[in-house]
Subunit: 336 residues, 2 copies
């Protein structure tokens, strides 16, 4: 279904986001790279396999427990490149600044970007700054784009997922969404939930070293684990089954979700990733992840089955099972 006007839900990472891309962007910009709908595009230049990725960050508030828009903008693009199997090398940054924005805040944000880049082992090598009049933007938006080199021999893609693959996540979900929401809303109490925003490139390097058969990786950002897995199931046209009891969620995150009426399954993460690999390789992948600081709590959460069509099925804690759909509404706008 098409809408005359863009809704907030078109940016939520759910069904309407997917429709906007499928119905508007793909037909008008048609090429095989875009149609793959991965986190980035992989191509060869002069015999070298490269990948690029881009993301604009509009998170609100700009500063949140565990990070700010600057560190987030670096981690997000580093992670998107990593999910394509790329080793991120260089980033660009584009700033859109609202007139009147405090210079001290800008400096704090840029400093965080520099630190995040140094921690991730990448360099911010080119940039652009625009200023718009007061009221024409909400404080600050940052775009980062990046380039990485892909050395992994097999193709990491939704298209590589096979029935029998196991699904692994690197730790508890929902921290980023809960941290941002706890800062945005009045919870009535102090929480110690911090965003999981982190660069996953070195974890990914360890995963790829552990197994030559990693089929797909995806970071569970906007839309959360639930939306990303439902999307992948649809794209792969395979059934993914997960067990609710195996999905790690911190008690504090559960608490915030109860107060705000949110489901951690659909809450954004900025340092969580899903790995699809054959069952035989799962022990090695899990061991490699658990040996890494960003994968200490890695667990197996599901399995890919042939199924009758691409869908995500969750075995619930109370003993039943249900299909998890792509969320239709906007759960948490401007979460990244």
């Amino acid at each position: 279904m098409k809408f005359d006007r863009i809704l907030l839900e078109h940016g939520g990472g759910g069904l309407l986001s997917n429709n906007l891309i499928a119905e508007t962007f793909l037909p008008l910009l048609q090429n095989t790279y875009l149609e793959r709908l991965e986190d980035g595009a992989v191509f060869d230049v002069g015999g070298v396999r490269l990948c690029i990725s881009t993301d604009s960050y509009v998170v609100n508030p700009l500063f949140f427990p565990g990070g700010n828009i600057g560190s987030l903008a670096v981690h997000g693009t580093v992670n998107d490149i990593s999910m394509c199997g790329g080793k991120p090398l260089y980033l660009s940054c584009g700033f859109i600044i609202e007139e009147g924005f405090p210079t001290a805040d800008l400096e704090r944000i840029i400093r965080s970007m520099g630190e995040a880049a140094a921690n991730a082992g990448v360099q911010i090598v080119t940039g652009d700054t625009k200023v718009v009049a007061k009221g024409a933007a909400d404080g600050l938006f940052i775009n980062t784009s990046g380039i990485g080199v892909v050395e992994y021999p097999s193709v990491i893609s939704v298209r590589s997922i096979r029935p029998g693959d196991l699904v692994i996540v690197n730790g508890p979900i929902g921290d980023h969404g809960a941290a941002v929401m706890s800062k945005r809303q009045e919870l009535g109490y102090e929480t110690d939930v911090v965003s999981d925003s982190a660069p996953l490139n070195s974890l990914v390097a360890d995963i790829l070293k552990a197994s030559p058969n990693v089929h797909c990786m995806r970071d569970a950002t906007r839309g959360g684990l639930g939306a990303i897995l439902a999307e992948i199931a649809g794209q792969a046209d395979l059934e993914i089954t997960i067990a609710e009891k195996d999905i790690p969620v911190r008690e504090e995150v559960k608490g915030i979700c109860e107060i705000l009426g949110l489901d951690p399954l659909f809450l954004a993460n900025e340092g969580k990733m899903i790995v699809f690999c054959p069952e035989a390789d799962a022990p090695a992948v899990l061991a490699a992840m658990r040996a890494h600081p960003y994968g200490r709590d890695a667990v197996l959460i599901g399995r890919v089955e042939k199924g009758i069509r691409g869908r995500l099925i969750m075995a619930t804690i109370i003993g039943g099972s249900r299909e998890v759909d792509l969320p239709v509404g906007e759960l948490v706008p401007r979460i990244c």
Copy 2:
């Protein structure tokens, strides 16, 4: 001088833009690529020389005579990569859309991007879409980033400019700025000035084929020919002399500038570039430019001299000469 808050002038392409980059971005993100202050960054990956560039587009209005934000966003990044001597290959796009934005306008803009990319021979291979609430952005902002391969053997950079180099521009200046301003302001009459927005990559390919000694290329966008040349003179620490009588400006553009109190020298272009090359190579470069549709009106406008310090000197039509400074104020906000 530092300001507590970001001013519109910090985005104008003049002195305050340069100060913001020099005082805030460079010290916090320090690396040798950024410090070069070129239109993009050039580096090697696996033995292949690449360049990347990024720009965010906030032009107002979104549709203007000769183009729209979509075609502009493609041309701008194609041109920035070209100015580094790169052959642009792949672009990313990041959309920040205000809730309520008309879907038909979005489609028109994306269609223009697709057409502009096809005309320039590049592909838009990855993207991102964010939606922010009504009032949190002014309609639509687009970031494009891009990657190109650099095959030209010598270094195209401000640092390569030498005394004795000649300065060539590929045609009349100020068209883009005048077209956008004529649409934004009430002129009281119809004008037929259209933006010069165009992809310059094939023109650049012809220039580089014509001479192995091109020292520097720059597109004269935000800040116009005057700001770009003054900036280059400062960066190169050489004196650039230009003759006002040789600088091509259309009569209609002069007319709009008189009405609106603007100087075409500082009016943005989106299809105009400056070439620096040794005197001996200038005839071949000029001939190659004039044989190309986007360089038909190419002319020699100046020369690089040793000078006492980096500055831009213009011989005026009335017979005197004056130093052209980087503009301090914001001439035309949101011109690109």
